[in-house]
């Protein structure tokens, strides 16, 4: 490298810098000038003109755009001003015009030299065409010259001054404008910088209808007239706190267009069915209208009510919701009601005001609805006060608020009746129903026997409560140890589940269960029996009359070709008369059924008698359902046919059928009379037994009487016995009278008994005993009463014997008659059998013999018919066999008469078989009748029990004798003597023996299939207690009382045993059967339009079931029970 070269390049670099500086000036100065011009122009415009936001925005945009363009232009210019080394050399050389290319040449020479140097170093030799020295010299010369050149002059460019001027002028303008603008200048600058801060451009906006009061439901068209903007108008409506906008549509209605002013555009929006106040405004471009209000003129009013009741939990009722026309509330106390009122428009505030209580309940508001939570506590009147958004007030109501109190339950006892007898099995079936408006929770039984403190038992407890509850409770009464004549008072109670005011209890009226004496029961039967017999006698009379009439009618009709109207009427009347007879028979059958049930359930009557009554009832039912009905049907057929021949035939048939009915009714009457007699005997027997029991009890009380006063108090009982004795005498007299034609021996017995009971004998002795008691003469009274006891015992035995004797004699007589009848029939059959084997007799002889036998058979049949009037043991198959025999005999006679030997023989044979069968049936019936009583072993049990009662009586007397204070020597009162211990042991052993005897009898009865002695198990337990007392040497009042109870039960037991449990229909069902029923099931009418519970209760009746349906409900419950029982 040569130094010249370096110097040259150094000078060229100075030239480059100068040139760059010039390029920069040439670029920047115009930029600044133009920019300043722009700014000045903008400022001037902004200051001079009224500009709005849009203008400023444009202005700013223009300035920014101009600036950007200037920068781009400047950059472009700078790039364009860039020079190469050659150009720089030329530009520098131009400073010396004569040698302007010297520097360029020098530069090129340097480059050649560089190339040569690069090549030489590569080849190692210099370029042959040029001298390097020369070149270096040239370069040096050029370098020298370059050093002399005024490079600063390169900076200058021709328009520099002009541009400076322009720029300065522009700046001056800007400054001047700014100065002139004064305070606006910064504002304008700020608006240019931020056009948003500038005001908007003014837009003309008109809105119709603006604010307005409208009717509810009106439709309003909002129109916007916009001038000065093309922007579409928007409607903003206030929804709560927010504004909701919607673009308005173009208005095309002429009216709207006509209303537009020049330059205005018209937009509109339809607000339909406005019910609420509405606030709105319209916006178009930057312009916005003021806020307008469309005010609905109407006050809020109720359009409907919805009520929801949430009932107290204890009622067990599901919440209920309903629509209502008013805001009346009615519900059980404690209910929570929710009252919702739907409104015609929104309410700003809603309050429920209790007019009486003054309570205020704020309502919850919704869209056109207000709701109130109303607790139902007491009756009130309520008003709903509403205020609309404008503060206007509207009151709804007043409405009734009805707090329905929980009424106490009602109790109905369907069975037993108010006073009823205890059934023989010592149970009572209580069928009771209870109703409560909200549900029965408990069924109670409160009872007491004698003077005991009343006890309360819960029969049934219902967890959830039931509005209607029926229970059937089989109440075991054995534990009450009732004696004949005693009674239990009881009430059935129902408890509701009122949790608001506390449970309420209702008790039924007090009812009584009597433990009747057998005499009472039997006495009550007498009247019923008489009535039944009278009814049947009427029926018999009617049936006979009808029979006669039908016969006459048949005769008349048979003679005429056509039936007259009168004849038809008569036939019709006959049919009607028959229906009446049927009704009467049915009534009698029902009477019998009732009395059989009554007797069967009571302890009084023996099973045989009940069985007889039942059989009679069946007999009557058969008469009603077969004979009479068949006769009626035939008549009715005849009436339908209306053909005289048919009617005549039907009337004849009617007569035949009626014959059967008449016979059966006659038989029933006879049997009833017989039963009546047996019942009277039974009653006499029972009365005798009761008298004996009472006398024993009286004697015992007398023995225990400690003072004369106590003895005196017993005089009334003795008087009562005397009265009974008089009654018994009257009964015996009656019996003797009626027995005169029936049984001489029984009549004689009755007369003797009557004599004994007469005023001169037993009654007189009773009077004496009574007098002694009244005078307090205990010893004398005891002596007399002991004698009376013996006499009554004898009388009882004699009465029993009379009854048994009567029954046995009757039975034997009947057995004899039945046997004779069987023998008669067998004789006839025997002769017929001989006929069958007879090969010699002619057919005519056979016919004759057969005819004779037929007559004999008819006679025998008549006798059997007579027997059947006296006993029920003759079964229908006997009559059927005899009927068959007669028919075959008749047939045989006919065949023989027609010389038909074979047919005749067949008839004879068949009749023989039928007669044999009839005889078999008769003998079987006879055996059944005779074996009816003894086969049960009842008599033996009775005798054993009577014997045990005697033993117990003796033991009781011994105990009484050993009681402290009873006949003890002086000084020993209140204490047992030394030898008494041994006696007590002996007595304990005796008591044990009695107990074992009782257990044996009980077992025997059990084996016989019967109920063991009418629940005598507790008596055996009592006996054990006495045994223990005696063995332990305890002899107190308790022991004596216990023995007395034992004796009473033993005395009563034979009656119970003899008339032991007998009822095919009754079924023991221990425990409580419960039936719940809803009121809806009570009657179809109730179901048809079942009111709401609230309205049902609001009716205010005490019983939720109206009186109209009460009977139906009771019947319904009863039927449910019956079904349950099955």
């Amino acid at each position: 490298m040569s130094p010249a070269r370096d110097t040259l390049l150094h000078h060229l670099a100075r030239a480059r810098r100068a040139l760059f500086r010039r390029a920069a000036e040439r670029t920047a100065l115009p930029l600044v000038a133009i920019g300043a011009v722009l700014v000045a122009a903008a400022l001037v415009v902004a200051l001079a003109a009224t500009l709005y936001r849009g203008h400023y925005a444009i202005l700013r945009l223009s300035l920014l755009g101009g600036g950007a363009l200037l920068l781009a232009a400047g950059l472009w210019r700078m790039l364009r001003e860039h020079r190469s080394a050659e150009e720089i050399a030329i530009e520098a050389g131009s400073l010396e015009p004569e040698r302007k290319d010297e520097l360029l040449t020098a530069l090129e020479l340097t480059r050649d030299a560089d190339r040569e140097a690069a090549a030489g170093s590569a080849r190692g030799a210099a370029t042959p065409d040029a001298s390097s020295s020369l070149r270096d010299a040239a370069i040096a010369a050029a370098a020298a010259r370059a050093g002399d050149l005024p490079m600063e002059r390169l900076i200058e460019w021709p328009a520099r001054r002009r541009w400076f001027t322009i720029a300065a002028a522009a700046i001056v303008v800007v400054v001047a404008a700014g100065f002139i603008g004064g305070a606006r200048t910064p504002q304008v600058l700020a608006r240019i910088a931020d056009p948003q801060s500038a005001p908007r451009a003014p837009i003309g906006l008109r809105v119709t209808p603006g604010g307005k009061e409208i009717e509810g439901g009106a439709t309003v068209v909002v129109r916007a007239y916009v001038r000065g903007s093309n922007a579409r108008a928007r409607l903003l409506t206030k929804r709560g706190d927010a504004w909701v906008d919607v673009n308005m549509g173009n208005a095309d209605e002429k009216e709207a267009l006509d209303a537009a002013r020049p330059g205005e555009r018209v937009y509109e929006h339809r607000l339909a069915n406005l019910k609420e106040d509405l606030r709105y405004r319209v916006a178009a471009g930057d312009a916005e209208s003021p806020e307008y209000a469309l005010s609905v003129r109407d006050l809020p009013r109720a359009t409907g009510y919805r009520i929801r009741y949430v009932y107290p939990a204890y009622t067990g009722l599901e919440p209920e919701e309903m629509q209502a026309l008013t805001g009346d509330l009615a519900a059980p106390r404690g209910t929570k009601a929710r009252l919702e009122v739907t409104l015609s428009r929104d309410a700003a505030t809603a309050v429920l005001i209790g007019d009486r209580s003054g309570a205020r309940i704020d309502g919850t508001r919704g869209v056109r609805i207000v709701g109130f939570d109303v607790p139902i506590r007491s009756d009130d009147a309520i008003t709903i006060r509403l205020t609309d958004a404008r503060g206007r007030r509207a009151d709804l109501g007043p409405f009734d608020l009805r707090a329905i109190p929980d009424r106490p339950p009602t109790v109905t006892v369907l069975a037993p009746g108010s006073v009823e007898d205890v059934s023989r099995d010592m149970t009572a079936t209580i069928v009771a129903g209870a109703t409560d408006d909200h549900g029965v929770r408990k069924m109670l039984l409160r009872y007491h026997a004698r003077e005991e403190t009343p006890r309360v038992e819960t029969l049934h407890e219902e967890k959830a409560g039931s509005r209607e509850l029926a229970i059937r409770y089989t109440w075991p009464l054995q534990a009450m140890s009732l004696l004949p004549g005693e009674e239990i008072a009881y009430q059935v109670g129902a408890v509701d589940g009122n949790a608001v005011d506390g449970p309420q209890t209702t008790w039924s009226d007090e009812r009584r269960l009597r433990f009747p004496s057998a005499t009472e029961i039997l006495a009550s039967m007498q009247k019923e029996r008489d009535e039944t017999i009278e009814t049947l006698e009427d029926v018999l009379k009617g049936a006979k009359e009808l029979q006669q009439k039908s016969e006459e009618l048949a005769r008349d009709i048979g003679q005429s070709r056509e039936m007259t109207w009168e004849q038809r009427q008569q036939v019709q009347k006959t049919a009607e008369g028959q229906q009446k007879l049927r009704d009467m028979v049915e009534k009698a059958a029902q009477q019998l059924q009732q009395s059989a049930e009554k007797l069967g359930q009571s302890r009084a009557l023996n099973a045989e008698l009940v069985e007889k009554i039942n059989e009679l009832q069946k007999l009557l039912t058969d008469i009603k359902d077969q004979s009479l009905l068949r006769a009626m049907q035939r008549l009715q057929e005849a009436i339908r046919n209306m053909q005289p021949q048919d009617v005549e035939r039907a009337m004849q048939n009617f007569k035949v059928t009626q014959d059967d009915a008449v016979k059966n009714i006659q038989r029933t009457i006879e049997l009833l009379k017989q039963i009546r007699m047996e019942e009277r005997m039974e009653a006499a027997s029972e009365r005798a037994a009761e008298m004996e029991r009472r006398q024993i009890a009286l004697n015992d009380s007398l023995a225990r009487a400690k003072s004369a006063e106590e003895a005196k108090a017993l005089a009334d009982a003795q008087k009562e016995l005397e009265k009974m004795t008089a009654e018994q005498k009257a009964a015996m007299d009656e019996l003797a009278k009626d027995l005169k034609s029936m049984d001489a021996q029984a009549m004689k017995d009755a007369q003797e008994l009557s004599q004994e009971m007469g005023p001169q004998e037993m009654q007189m002795e009773m009077q004496q005993a009574e007098e002694s008691m009244q005078q307090g003469q205990k010893a004398e009274a005891r002596e007399k009463t002991q004698s009376l006891k013996k006499r009554l015992q004898q009388a009882r035995k004699k009465t029993d014997q009379m009854r048994e004797g009567f029954r046995d004699r009757k039975k034997n007589q009947l057995a004899k008659e039945m046997e004779d009848a069987a023998q008669d029939i067998l004789d006839i059959a025997s002769i017929q059998e001989t006929m069958l084997k007879d090969d010699e007799s002619s057919v005519n002889d056979r016919a004759e013999t057969q005819k004779g036998l037929e007559e004999t058979t008819k006679s025998a049949a008549q006798r059997i018919g007579d027997i059947s009037k006296q006993t029920l043991f003759l079964t229908p198959d006997i009559a059927q066999s005899i009927g068959r025999a007669l028919q075959n005999q008749d047939n045989a006679v006919g065949r023989y008469s027609q010389q038909d030997l074979l047919g005749g023989l067949m008839g004879t044979k068949e009749s023989t078989i039928a007669l044999n069968q009839a005889a078999t049936g008769l003998l079987k019936s006879k055996d059944q009748m005779q074996g009816a009583k003894s086969s049960t072993g009842m008599s033996e049990a009775m005798q054993q029990l009577q014997s045990l009662a005697g033993q117990q009586q003796g033991l009781n007397e011994q105990t009484m004798g050993m009681m402290p204070g009873q006949g003890k020597p002086d000084g020993m009162d209140g204490r047992l003597s030394p030898g008494d211990g041994e006696s007590l042991q002996r007595m304990a052993a005796e008591q044990e023996a009695i107990r074992r005897g009782l257990e044996g009898a009980m077992q025997k009865m059990g084996e016989g299939g019967g109920k063991p002695l009418g629940n005598m198990g507790d008596v055996a337990e009592e006996m054990k207690g006495v045994e223990q007392d005696l063995r332990a040497g305890r002899l107190g009042e308790d022991t004596v009382n216990r023995q007395q109870r034992i004796l009473s039960r033993l005395l009563d037991a034979p009656r119970s045993v003899e008339k032991r449990d007998y009822s095919r229909k009754r079924m023991s069902r221990p425990g409580v059967d419960v039936v719940r029923s809803s009121p809806g099931a009570l009657s179809p009418e109730l179901l048809k339009a079942r009111p709401s519970l609230a309205s049902l209760l609001a009716k205010g009746s005490r019983d939720p079931v109206t009186a109209k349906y009460r009977a139906l409900v009771d019947e319904y419950l009863e039927s449910l029970m019956k079904e349950g029982g099955r």
């Binding site: 069987a822 067998l826 090969d839 004779g852 036998l853 004999t856 007669l915």
Partner: protein, 285 residues
Amino acid sequence: MIRPRPHGALRRSPAALAVAAAVAGVLAVAAGASGAPAPKKDDPPAKPKVTISSPNAGIIVLPPGGEEEDEDATDSLLQSLPRTYQALVRRFGTMSPADSMGDGAYQWAEAAFKAGKFDEASKAYGDFARRYPRNLKVNDALSLTLLIKEARDFEDQPLLLFARGRAYRDGGKVDSAITMLTAAAQRFPGAKVRHHVHLMLAEMARDRGDHASALRWAVAGADSVGRNRIAPFALRIAAESSMDLGEPPQKALAYYKEILERYPRSPIAPEARARSLEIRKKMPQ
């Protein structure tokens, strides 16, 4: 009334009976076709040499005798075909299996009765009557039941004698029967079964043609003292025997009259009435 039972039965099966009936029918037709002599009107009514009954399950009962007699009977059957045919038709036409169903049970009861086991017999008769109501022996069974019930006296001795006598009679040993029953009548004249004894003796005497004895026993049987169901039957035999003895008809008429007066309800009464009328007609006015 206790009737005599057939005896000496030759038993054949029902099938054999049916075959016999069929054969009889064919023979009858053949006889008619071949012009077999029909019985003349004047001929006395021939005593049936063959009696056919149905006491034992539809068995043809022939008179007792050996095999030769059987052959004779068969011959006589052929000879008296029309009458026998009639009898066969009569019997078979009225017979049915039920008539004899339960005969075994009856025989068992009979055996007990004859053996003097009266309680057992009574029960067996009763069972038989209940179980086989269509058997024609039910009548006898029931009659014997009643007899057993009412005639238990003198430690059952009279009843036992009666039972044995009846057994002999049913077995065809009439002499033994008479001996036995006569002994009973003599040893226990007050026995309750005496009327039955008398009646049976009367019947046997009548059957033997000993009308005097028959009359005597019948009159004894018609004892009017006490309860006597046999009396009408005894009186009828008495009346018949009296007529057979050739006594004046008034006597027989008196017996019949007694039946009608004392026992108007008896099945014998109609017959007695008819016989009375016949006698009256025959009596000279």
